[in-house]
Symmetry: C2
Amino acid sequence: MTQNLAIGFTEGLPITAPNSLQQFKLPMPQPQSGEVIVAVAGVSVNPVDTKRRQVAGKHQTPQIQGYDAVGTITQIGANVTSFKPGDRVIYAGTTLRPGSNQQYQAVDARLLAAAPADAPDADLAALPLVGLTAWELLFEKMGFIPEFNANKGQHLLVINGAGGVGSMLCQLARWSGLTVLATSSPKNHPWLLDHGVATPLDYHQDLIAQVQHAGLQTVDGIALLYQPEPYLAAASQLIRAFGHIGCIVGPQTGLDLAVVKDKAASFDYEYMFAKTDFDYHVASQGAILSRLVSLYQDHQIKASVTKHFDTISVDTLKTATALVEGGHEVGKVVLTGPFA
Amino acid sequence: MTQNLAIGFTEGLPITAPNSLQQFKLPMPQPQSGEVIVAVAGVSVNPVDTKRRQVAGKHQTPQIQGYDAVGTITQIGANVTSFKPGDRVIYAGTTLRPGSNQQYQAVDARLLAAAPADAPDADLAALPLVGLTAWELLFEKMGFIPEFNANKGQHLLVINGAGGVGSMLCQLARWSGLTVLATSSPKNHPWLLDHGVATPLDYHQDLIAQVQHAGLQTVDGIALLYQPEPYLAAASQLIRAFGHIGCIVGPQTGLDLAVVKDKAASFDYEYMFAKTDFDYHVASQGAILSRLVSLYQDHQIKASVTKHFDTISVDTLKTATALVEGGHEVGKVVLTGPFA
């Protein structure tokens, strides 16, 4: 009988606490109808792990996070026809079920995409969560068209372009024809240029002045990949009439949308787990991931891995999580197996 | 030389004040390039007139409002090829130029649609502003598809369904296949049923309970045609994941969008003058009006005139404005000529 090593917690503690993450030996998961079991080969750390851990109280049972994975299917449940044992797959999964920080994970087959045999685990583990978030924000929420060069002539402003979601979103935006302006620290401007950004902006400097210096009074969309409050006034001034301000970070106060109203603009929230949380178009996530895999194979997007640990252990996951919690990470932090 | 009788003000006063509206004899307008001159035959009163008058200070020159008109073109400016003198047209116009409460008005030809010869002035004057607002909100902001029955199977909740915009929006929503639930006072439920609403709701009663009583946990879109603050909590609970909450009234405080975030929903503002204020897709308004005229001729929408004055004078415009300012008006208040 195979053991199932998992890394998780029973209490949400600061990552520096000795028990912030622990190793557990869990029972092997059994697939429910519509599910598969995946032997996890690689995972990635995202800010959502931290946010969820920090609000978690005490639990009787181990809480297993991890919302990015590549692996191989070992078993399929009833009513699974699209995949078979031995298939290599990627997925983000759902927060309603234990995550990918375990050797064997049960996953809803609708959330999976087939992964190419010749791509590294590290790259594949880095794609799902940021890819789904960026795709859904741009193409399902902000109204841009998900086809090559389809949005030619339009300009997108990205706040925080060099982070995990930003690095993916800038690439997808450029692929779809948008001209991208994006903020980061000046030391990361070469990274932005390498990820589809036409005009890097310095996030320390006046945003409106920099956009105007680039020759624009307004932009067609603004992806606000950071706490929205400090940027809302500038975003309201810079968005064109009938434009979309897309955001992925929850507000901490009420948002003043008066200027947004005068321009008939939209404020769009994206949260990729909303689909599984509310059972809405769940299979669309597998379909989006398949398109992301194609774009990756066609060299239209890259996985942007900047930190890679080659063991999945309490130590490496703690170190990776601390890096992400720092909030200044560029690109993606991934861990590939073996589990230890 | 023809005189140009106009009704307007030089100071924004309460409508009950003696000089809240006055008659002026203005010079005949001359068409600029791209403009036509229209002999106005009918106008309508909208809440936007009141809102703009109330914030107006003192002016040296007469301020002429009115953002709905039917009339006949008397003159065309340079570069106007789509219309000729004698054409009957409808339009909402723009707040950047004097409005339709005058005998002769200069209008950007891109904002016009040809009007059928056999339709009453009163009906035609009632269509433009509410039609454009409802169309843009549903089909350009909230993502529904502007084709007959194209949104079949989806549900729309309308807050304030019996007002000017609501009466038009409920009809357009039903034409496009949406099943409409809408609030009003119970005495106006027959009006709602006559305007495409499947399930009238009582705005005095608990909204969530009424929607659930109709067999729904969530709806696919919410058109919030009223001050948003009192409805935001219920709307956040009732909107489905990835749904749209559309609004036409500016916020008076910051809006708490935390729940909207969890559902990856959008908060869409619509303001039909944003297109002319910001020179964005101006010609789209003429195109939308043409489709509205077709739907009107095909009996898919009606003009919903509830009050009709047959003279356009200081007295009738004051009375009509006071009715609209009451805030409980059902349908549309229109005035048709002659000017006096």
